[in-house]
Symmetry: C2
Subunit: 310 residues, 2 copies
């Protein structure tokens, strides 16, 4: 264990153990964990790694990573441990082991594992009970964005703790946004954003299948599909403003038009024997909103009806 | 009925009746039909209009449109009739009336009504049987884009006929693409593109509802939602190339990761009592692909499995 460095003081680093602030531990060496480790190594940080399944660290060790024999040894090697495993069942299975919890006492965990917000909050409670300083985050961009300006990280938890570790987190590149003290907040944003992403991707996969059945190659559809992608962001912004303002006016685009369009898509898909359950679900959401008497309203009314549990 | 103009000759205009090429008839005065009429009027075309429900043409007549007393009188007033009604049941109900079919003989119909491709093909067959020259198109952008560079029109049917009427269609602004001689081709593209659009919009509406339940306003989510929208077009292009090439490699983003992410979204949505049928359908598509032994493949494998009816 080395003594504190100037950098540590500069960031107001507290905690116990006296490791360099320019050191970090990464638990989990899946594709994302490896990308995080690589970015830390390239930033010149002393990086200790551990993975449940051995052997994943070979290439990283060749590039300068320190392979820890156990998770407790790994977390003891740095003030800051970044966790990125498959889900919170997996992160709990490592962090909540008695030896690991003991070694983490007074140290900081930044959990970048993806899961539901309630799991983030539960882990934050556990951390508080065990004297572990805890931040919860989300990575919104693919592995190849890590270490580049394209990476997008969301963070939540104590702002002061976030600021303390920001210099190390900045080594991961991209933009980092602290969204609030609620430890589940980064995961809440992640869930909502991935809801948009995966639904859109599923819609695209379905559209490619329908296009192919209609004799249109993916390459032929691509420029027009990109055109659809390009019109979404301004519509997203417009609808956000309308929803927050409670403006559900349909103007020239009532929900009934959307329902008609969705029905043609279901018909064409099923005429080709292609499963249309995704569009059927979308159509169902729209039809239920029409059934509640909002057929002349704009599409954004669907968001309000979905969230209305009365 | 006026005599032919130089412009008519220039465009190689055939047909009967001898109206000016710089004249057009619009059937259907819903929001889109009114926008089309306005663009034709602003381009200086002699524009005749008719709508099933009377009274919709008042403002257009004040701006110079000619109100026809019947659909047969309307189509007789121009070489080119543009149809934009709610669906093909509605366009059939007008076009296939004996008096209208008779008046259309030798003239051209451009049907911009949205529906399924099989309806376009059926109407093209009917037109051929009745000596009506027929083009079928789709409008991919909202009413407020009409007459501006943002408008996107897709066309299909005989290329020569399309070229003949292109100068009048160009009055609608935007970009016009002729996609092929199959009269259903514009509708096929439209179905595939609206599949992406409406699925994405439904996902966005759902995400807004989940975000709200998590205490996130639409405005707070908006910049990140726009970020998701911005990464879609390049992913669409990448996946199109992979699908056409039969490249289903998962690399660092296997379908199993998507399934895990989708599961967290369903869990969080339903924990708030918010219907998750849309994401459940997307998850089902992904899980069926995993179940077929493709869990390590990339997401684009889902498009192939959806289209595989074996």
């Amino acid at each position: 264990m080395s003594s504190r460095t100037e950098q540590q003081e500069q960031h107001g680093q507290g905690g116990q153990g006296g490791q360099q602030a320019s050191s970090v531990t990464v638990l989990g060496l899946g594709p994302m964990g490896r990308a995080l480790t690589t970015a830390f190594l390239e930033a010149g940080l002393r990086t200790t790694v551990w993975n449940r399944t051995p052997g994943r660290d070979k290439e990283l060790v060749e590039r300068g990573a320190i392979s820890a024999p156990s998770p407790e040894a790994a977390v003891a090697a740095s003030e800051l441990t970044v966790v990125c495993v498959v889900n919170y069942d997996a992160s709990d299975a490592v962090l909540r082991r008695a030896e690991v919890a003991k070694a983490l006492k007074g140290r900081t965990v930044v959990n970048l594992t993806a899961d539901a917000p309630d799991r983030s909050r539960s882990t934050a409670d556990w951390a508080a009970d065990h004297g572990v300083r805890y931040l919860d985050g989300a990575i919104m961009t693919p592995t190849d964005s890590i270490g580049t300006p394209d990476a997008v990280f969301l963070h939540s938890g104590p702002l002061e703790l976030y600021r303390e570790h920001q210099p190390v987190l900045d080594a991961l590149g991209g933009t980092h946004t602290h969204l609030g003290e609620d430890p589940g907040r980064a995961a809440s944003y992640e869930i909502a954003l991935l809801d948009i992403f995966w639904t859109s991707m599923a819609g695209y996969a379905h559209a490619l299948a329908v296009a192919k059945a209609e004799g249109i190659t993916a390459k032929e559809l691509a420029p027009f599909a990109q055109g659809i992608g390009a019109i979404l962001p301004p519509i997203f912004e417009d609808y956000a403003a309308k929803l927050d303002a409670g403006d559900f006016s349909g103007d020239d685009n009532p929900i009934t038009s959307a329902v008609s369009s969705m029905h043609h898509i279901v018909h064409t898909s099923e005429a080709h024997g292609i499963d249309a359950s995704l569009m059927r679900a979308a159509e169902g959401m729209a039809r239920r909103t029409v059934g509640r008497g909002h057929g002349a309203d704009g599409f954004v009314r669907i968001a309000e009806i979905l969230g209305d549990r009365g």
